[in-house]
């Protein structure tokens, strides 16, 4: 029962979403609207789960960690609780809140992402090799597109932008569309397995 009842719930709301979309029925439409509204509220509750996990992990690290762990974990919990208290008390557009958001969060995450710019360069030197037909096609098409993407490419050869555009809108389009349709069918297949309870890893069980 502990498995079956949730599965039945998932099945009912899932089918409701699908049927209400294809059929003209006010009753079903209304039911679907209500369930959607509820879903948004439940999803909002889920936003707190990560912080409880973080508290569990980092409280342990503060008391039992090695080296500087106490400092890192302490800083993490302090900034989390500080932001939460400030935001709930004063609202997220309060100047102090926006200050910490802009001063710490934005540059922090933006820089972590930006670092991958360095990694791509060293991988370009060390790892990207023409070793077979696949990588040959890939690297040649990448090179053409790179030269088409930046103004200096046109200075080198006036045809690069046109080639890049063709590459993007003809062969790339075909490849992307094939993958999009294939992935769509795959997504429907795994969705159906979830709704029918054949795939239930989301319930913490392991498959059927």
């Amino acid at each position: 029962m502990r498995q079956e009842l949730p599965m039945i719930l998932a099945f009912i709301v899932g089918i409701l979403m699908i049927v209400s979309f294809f059929f003209t029925s006010e009753t079903l439409g209304e039911a679907a609207r209500t369930v959607e509204n509820w879903g948004v509220i439940v999803a909002a509750f889920a936003l707190g789960l990560a912080s409880i996990n973080l508290i569990q992990i980092h409280a342990k690290k503060i008391t039992r960690g090695k080296g500087l762990d106490w400092l890192y974990s302490g800083a993490l919990l302090f900034s989390m609780i500080g932001m939460a208290v400030l935001g709930i008390a004063k609202g997220p557009t309060h100047p102090t809140y926006q200050f910490w958001f802009d001063a710490l969060f934005v540059p922090g995450q933006a820089t972590v992402y930006a670092m991958t710019g360095f990694f791509i360069a060293s991988a370009a030197y060390r790892a990207f090799r023409i070793r077979n037909l696949d990588s040959a096609i890939l690297l040649v098409s990448a090179a053409i597109l790179m030269l088409a993407n930046v103004p200096v490419g046109e200075k080198i050869w006036s045809q690069f932008p046109a080639m890049g555009e063709w590459l993007m809108n003809v062969p790339n389009l075909a490849g992307q569309r094939g993958m999009l349709i294939g992935a769509g069918i795959g997504g429907i297949a795994s969705g159906i397995r979830v709704l029918l309870g054949i795939e239930r890893t989301y319930l913490g069980g392991s498959g059927s």
């Binding site: 719930l9 409880i52 969060f105 922090g108 972590v112 490849g175 349709i181």
Partner: protein, 201 residues
Amino acid sequence: MQISTDLGVWIAAIATIGILSFAFKDNPLYRLVENVYVGVSAGHALVLGWINIRDQGIGPLIDDGDWSLLVPIALGMLLYTRFFKKISWLSRFPLAMLVGIGTGLAIRGTIGSQIVNQIKSTILPLNSINNAIIIFGTLGVLIYFFFSREHTGPLKHVSTFGRCIMMVSFGAAFGSTVMGRMALLINRLHFLYANWLGIIR
């Protein structure tokens, strides 16, 4: 222009340099900044989660007396039973609801937008090389991902063509990604040079 006197800019600059330093060596400053930003991010999620619960759930429940909203509020709270071993199975109900809605919405949208509309736009007259590449490329990729038959004979050629077309796509993705990654670095460097050091405008 000259070096910034704004406290926020200085904090952001130290965070930026702290993280960039990881590229050269893993170091305590990197770890510290990374942990702080994970904390801020989780705190921010908490704040916005609370605002949603207040505006969508508790507000209408109290102000308009919409008692039906007790259902999602109760379900939402059940999510937290997962932290208590004995009753953790109760958290499956809200999860099942979220998964059910999400899956239903995805299925109903995918079949139209990702399949039917894509088929429609592939139905082109066979009157140019470009159209031929689009049509046969799409078919080739679909057939490449065909698993229940051995790819021999003509099937092999079609699927090889499909794989080659995909490699062009991946090349395009590769080239595009380089621009994206460099844009991210440019954004950070511009911040350091313009907003912090003030050496450019």
